[in-house]
Amino acid sequence: MNPRRIEQPTTLPEALAVLRTENARPMAGGTDLMIERRRAPFDADEIWVALGRLYGLRNIRHEEGWWHIGPLVTHAELADHSELQRVAPFLPQAASLVGSPQIRAQGTVGGNIANAASCADTVPPLFALDAEITLESAGQKRTVSLADFFLAPYETIRKRDELITDISFPDLPHGSRTAFLKLGRRQALAISRLSVAVLVTGNETLDDVRISVGSVLPRFGRLSEAEEMLKGKPAHYDLFREAGRAGSAEAVRIAGRRWSTDYKEPVLATLIHRGLCIACGITWE
């Protein structure tokens, strides 16, 4: 499991410089990296660039109408952020459902995104927030939307020497409400079988609806057909039920049928339905 070398840069430029070395790989909390690396014990030429001392990448701030979350913010920190709990509760909530206290203390949002597992729990809410990712390498910097960032499960456009240095999203439209639902096999340390993030805006009628899902699509995304069928309509239990079915059908169309589809299809419909109800304050039972 041991890499040949672990570097602990204290500044971003230093980190980006080391990352240019061949076989260098960023390590944030290590909760994905360490586990996967155990499977190939003698792939030991790697240099791990431990990001832990880049303290500047570990805060949450609000500036000019945008929220910025440093990639090294841990799930525990995100879950406990009282301001975000107020403005976009589904994001801290998703973070609070990651793994266990130990994993939340160690795992980071940046690692969650960079690793690009389709079950990553913070990604669906970030998707619904229209988040953007800033990638930096020595001498270069680019900002892309989350939609452009992911290619496939465990595949992103991030180049080997690029670091995620910022995760940002604009202020939510006035009157937005959110919901996040995670379905796992147990109450803690559960890999999401399915997750759904919902953001709705509007009073009498739904002005904006965003639904994004985890653990179903080959690349993260939103369910635009279900979103569209709700816009401009008043919130209603039955309508949401229909939207759930439509959203689930859309997801299956995108993903194709797999071994798990017989289960996920009806349950995704349920979760979308419930997510919409919860966001709009309608009892779903």
Binding site: N2, I35, P41, F42, R158, R185, W259
Partner: protein, 766 residues
Amino acid sequence: MKLYPQHRRVDGIGKVTGKAIFGADQMPGHLLYGAVKRAGIPHARIVRVDTEKARNCPGVRAVLTAKDIPGAHGFGIVVPHQRVLADDKVRYFGDGVAAVAAETEEQARFAAEQIEIEYETLPTISSPEEALKSDAPLVHEGSNLAVEHRVRHGEGEKPPDAAVTLERTYRTQHAEHSYIEPEAIVAWPAEHGGIVVKGSVQNLFSTRRSLAAVLDLPLNKVQVIQTTLGGSFGGKDEAMTLLSCRAALLALATGRPVKMVNSREESFIESYKRHPYRLHYELGADKDGQLRSMQIDILADAGAYASTSQFVTWRSTVQATGPYRVPWVRTRVRAAFTNNNYTGAMRGFGSPQVNLAIESFMDELAEEVGKSPLEIRRLNAYRDGDVTPTGQQLPGKVTIVEALEAVARASDFERKWRENRARQKEAGAIKRGIGLACSYRGVSLGAEGTDAAGTLVAIQTDGSVTISSGITDMGQGAQTAMSAVVAEALGISLSQIRFLNTDTDRVPDSGPTVASRATIMGGSAAYDASIALRKRLLEFSARTYRGDDSDFRLEDNALWRCDERLMSFHEFVDKAFASGISLMALGWHKAPKTTWREEHGQGTAYFTYVYGANAAEIEVDTQTGQVRILDVWVCHEVGRVISYAQACGQVYGGVVMGMGYGLLEEYYQEQGIPRIKNFDEYTLATALDAPNIHASFLEHPDALSPIGAKSLGEPATEICAPAVLNAIFNATGRRIRELPASLERVLLGRQLRRHGIRTSLAKEAP
């Protein structure tokens, strides 16, 4: 004897402060590390093993194959055919073919991977049904039928006529013990020849016998010492024998200590599992639900080696009909060899499978005849003096109804059961359910084998005491239970006792620590030693301080004459020692006789029985298949509670383990290839999943046990799963007959399977 309401575990402080020394913590000087080259395919003939490359790897000190074994190649409690290192064939994915010792763990593992093995692959047998087909390839010479037991009870070839008949099939899965500490051992050449092996061994004397045979050494040159064990649940028997033999061979080959520790993945693929069963049940009953007959046919997956299948399935045979009067019974239990992980002892030992079946089946009968689960059990449950299908009249008090009534009352079962049933058809996604299950269980080994144990109690001249026993502690608390018995008999406090980990050179062979026999056997032996010491000491006091033996007693860490405190225990034993009194005694307890006639499965299977019941209340999300267990009410009749806190501990752990078996856990192999190798997907219940558990005990001190106590470890885990499945039926009206009741089974009624392995790390853009 008086009851100790609460006490601290004698091994507790060491464990919670990190001072306990587990197998992998051992760090003797000059240590080498061992690693194993495993088959990685389920079934093949070995054509050639090339170790050349491995020998030349950096740091390597020895590379061994079966050819280098001086004694027996195989071991096994029933059939000694499990190879220390495979010679002719590999029979499952986890079989070891060669072992390496090197200066570092990485070097050893690397070198092991360099061993080249040429195989002639053979067809894989992936289920016992396949194994028993007439044209099936053989796993071992002879036959794939590993075991067959029968019970024949009641006259006539055909079952008596019955108004109601019912026929059902249930299935259970492979389950992993999931001890928190994977297998670990250090072996080193002994001072005067022979070998010392120290590590996480459960059954030291069976491991020692195998070591002696494999190394071709007399038993007195093989010393097996136990380190503090991080759990076992029946799992550190053959799995540890295997590791011990390999480490010992490497140690003798190199003349240096060799350490071997399985990674979690190695532990998953190599270690034995709980037997999956297919259970076919047929019954005949009166129209009110009174049982008339039962025909049971069970097929178990023995996996690649015989292990303890013989005994596991035998217990199933005896207990298959549950704690119910059935006048006519025909039971057949078979196990077949396959190319899956071998299966063996695991907490419950053949009972959780049959309990799942019979307890579901009783509920299905209740449904059929329009009775409640409690009514059907009341009607059929054993009463005092009833005779089991093996022809044994139940000894002592039969408390199954008492236990059932206790959990039914505490959980308000009847009311909830009726209300939930009425709500099944109502709107709403979340449904409540409550379920009942009960069992009777034979205590200790029964007719499986010799049942005797020894415990050594040594009072020191300062009044402190050491205890050692052939019965081992694996985390279940045996040391505390035995200490409590000694403390009580000598009138001293628990804090004065130190319990020594078991060492085969220092204590008598006491058989394996299995079958919930630690308290009753080890504890009774401890009692035997303590009363011998007490007698000796009181005789001495009568002689010295004049009086009658009966005027003196030991209590509150002191010697008393009637109501007069004469002196402290410390002063007293010091005086006794000075007068030449021996302060050490070996206690020995032999269990009452059992008998068995295999042909018709008749006999006194176990010398006594315990009884217990669970009621589980749950919530089912009928739109996602999620089941939450809210409360479990538990009642066990255990003879006598030795330590209340520990008894509750057994119940809490047992229920959570049982719920994992019922809802979550499955070790899944696809064509002999393990698809689940770690705890990411082998989902144990976590603390957040654990329900409220309400434990209660019935005490009827058993005349057949010197300390009155019987068993609890296995009873505590064997009936939670059926109670939960019965509760799911109560909530939804749909019955699940296969374990685990996963999300998919609860929602769709069937399991879905992923092919291949889950990966979890990002690839980068080119």
